[in-house]
């Protein structure tokens, strides 16, 4: 109580101290941050979009959107969307199970410290290095590939939908596995706070009313966690959709949109395709805009239970 009154008094005093004469000087403190984010975040985004909306001579045009009619680009968009969706669904379900299992561990115990650190490394640091790990695991002479052949006579590459495009790992389908490998840890990072936010009292209340654990999950756990769960699912979709490093380290062929963007950027001497990265950037931003709008809505619902 005292702390609150002190804080309130301090706030009032602070407002009194900042006389109109000194205010503009204090505002200047935001200038470095504003200038930095303007030049290195706003300007590049606008330039990327602008390059998709202009002709070679700089005039406005919508003709560039014809790029979306190219079969290669359409295929890459479909691949990117399907892969991200599959990864998002699979890793949010598996990650959620993992989160609940982690509730059994002490919140400040060593296991949680290790899981937190490992999640952080795999979700935020991995990229290229995780691609190497999967080449060594399910690549054409990977450890699992050879073991499966040896033990069961099963060729993992027979799962590849396109038999002419080389090993499974270098196709969009095979990338499901490395993508899962950095998405499940992301789910643990994002979803764990929500699972930890389940109050023990709710469980006791259900038990007092004669409910069993299944009823607890059905009537309390699942409804409370649902907004956070779907929010996390969307976040994983967004992360997988815009991820570049793993795919680029595995293959040079443009099977996913981010890789296609780089290919066309590499060939900027060719005026005919110079605008294609910009057009694809617009496509990605539109999809991300829709997805993150949904995320913001779900977050608002999830916040209700996390006060």
């Amino acid at each position: 109580m005292t702390a609150i009154t002190t804080a309130a008094a301090g706030r009032a005093a602070g407002a009194g101290a900042s006389t109109p004469r000194r205010r503009p000087v204090a505002w200047l403190g935001f200038v470095p941050f504003a200038a930095y984010t303007l030049v290195f975040m706003a300007v590049p985004t606008v330039l990327a979009v602008w390059s998709g909306l202009t002709t070679q001579s700089g005039a406005f045009t919508l003709a560039n959107f014809a790029a979306f009619a190219q079969p290669g680009i359409q295929k890459a968009f479909v691949n990117s969307l399907l892969l991200s969706l599959a990864v998002a669904v699979a890793s949010s379900v598996l990650g959620a199970i993992l989160c609940v299992a982690l509730l059994a561990a002490r919140p400040d115990g060593f296991l949680r410290v290790v899981v937190d650190a490992a999640s952080s490394v795999l979700a935020q640091f991995g990229g290229v290095m995780l691609a190497f790990a999967f080449i060594a695991t399910i690549g054409s002479t990977g450890m699992f590939t050879l073991w499966a052949q040896h033990a069961f006579g099963f060729d993992i590459n027979s799962l590849a939908p396109d038999k002419t495009a080389g090993p499974l790992l270098y196709q969009a389908t095979g990338m499901f596995f490395p993508y899962l490998y950095f998405s499940i840890p992301l789910m643990v990072i994002v979803f764990m706070p929500a699972v930890e936010g389940l109050r023990p009292q709710w469980g006791e209340a259900v038990a007092t009313l004669g409910g069993n654990r299944l009823q607890y999950w059905w009537h309390v756990g699942a409804p409370v966690l649902a907004p956070s769960f779907f929010g996390a699912l969307i976040l994983i979709f967004a992360s997988a959709f815009s991820s570049f490093a793993t795919a680029a380290a595995l293959t040079n062929s443009g099977i996913l949109i981010p890789v296609v963007m780089q290919q066309y950027l590499g060939s900027e001497t060719d005026a005919a395709v110079a605008h294609i990265p910009g057009v694809l950037a617009i496509g990605m931003l539109v999809i991300m805009g829709v997805v993150m709008g949904l995320y913001a809505l779900l977050q608002r619902r999830a916040a209700r239970w996390q006060r």
Binding site: A3, A7, G10, G14, A17, W27, P32, F33, A34, Y36, V39, F40, M41, P44, T45, V46, L47, S51, L98, V100, A101, L102, L103, A104, D108, F110, L111, V114, D116, A117, A118, L122, Q124, F125, V128, M129, F132, A133, A136, T137, T141, M143, F144, P200, G203, A207, Y216, W217, A238, F241, F244, A245, A248, A249, P258, Q262, P277, A281, L285, M292
Partner: protein
């Protein structure tokens, strides 16, 4: 064990020890297996699928093959320089703005949060497409050197730097601290430097660690701007000498993991001691 010692009936979300143990062990094996495969591959003799040799590491010091690894060493150096500069950028651009917003312009906090979390919604590849023309101008001024990438990479580290600092800020009553310091006669600089910043050490350290790990793992921007960093160097070396590339990948993963474990254990220990006190 839990049946007799604690409550007889489990309620709420906490799973049974056996079930959660099985799940965690399966997950542990599934996540360690690819890393084990990577380690096994890194020390395999050329062309074989089993066995152990240290020959690949010896090649690292072989002057005849030095040219192969030249680019990787250079990339590691560049990445370390970029990491240091990015942390400095964070301290110079982000931290003052966050403190100022917390102390004086509390309505601006929402704006800073929005801006800092924006890079999650803008795919890095989209930013990278825009960075190409921006850096054509920047490189006119500086020459095509790698360290300038810190400005671009600093943007994608914003969400990682923002969250720990924000968590720390909201856990400390900076307004009261500020008023206390000011009423004792401290100027604003003294207040921020000697009172506010020392209270934010933990958030700053955590933000710095995450920033460094994101910078060292960054591939997209360096690749789009055709600069040589640790990750682009690794990706190139994977073609020439996949064994050494795998060794470096494994070592980097382990190193960052260990740093985070030590930092996390330190944090958990502090939380426990504070609860006990």
């Amino acid at each position: 064990m839990s049946g007799r010692m604690s409550r007889p009936v489990r309620v709420g979300a906490t799973p049974g020890k056996a079930a959660s143990g099985v799940i965690l062990v399966i997950a542990g094996i599934a996540f360690l297996y690819p890393l084990y495969a990577l380690a096994a591959f890194a020390f395999q003799p050329v062309g074989q699928h089993s066995g152990f040799t240290l020959d690949h590491l010896k090649a690292l010091t072989d002057p005849v093959r030095a040219f192969q690894y030249q680019q990787l060493w250079e990339g590691i150096q560049n990445s370390l320089v970029i990491a240091v500069i990015t942390v400095v950028l964070m301290l110079v651009f982000l931290l003052p703005a966050m403190i100022l917003a917390e102390l004086r312009f509390r309505s601006v906090r929402r704006v800073i949060e929005f801006v800092c979390l924006l890079p999650i919604s803008i795919p890095t590849v989209v930013l990278a497409v825009g960075f190409v023309p921006v850096y054509q101008q920047v490189w006119h001024l500086t020459g095509a050197v790698a360290w300038v990438l810190a400005f671009a990479i600093g943007i994608i580290t914003l969400p990682y730097a923002f969250r720990p600092i924000q968590a720390n800020l909201s856990g400390v009553d900076v307004i009261t601290l500020n008023e206390a310091a000011r009423s004792l006669g401290a100027g604003w600089f003294q207040t921020v430097w000697h009172v506010i910043v020392p209270n934010l050490r933990r958030g700053m350290l955590s933000a710095g660690l995450l920033t460094v790990s994101v910078v060292l793992g960054e591939f997209t921007i360096a690749s789009f701007l055709q600069q040589n960093t640790f990750q682009t160097g690794l990706a190139l070396l994977e073609q020439a000498d996949p064994y050494v590339a795998s060794t470096f990948a494994l070592a980097a993963l382990l190193l960052v993991f260990l740093i985070l474990v030590v930092f996390g254990a330190f944090g958990a220990g502090r939380r426990r001691s504070r609860k006990a006190a």
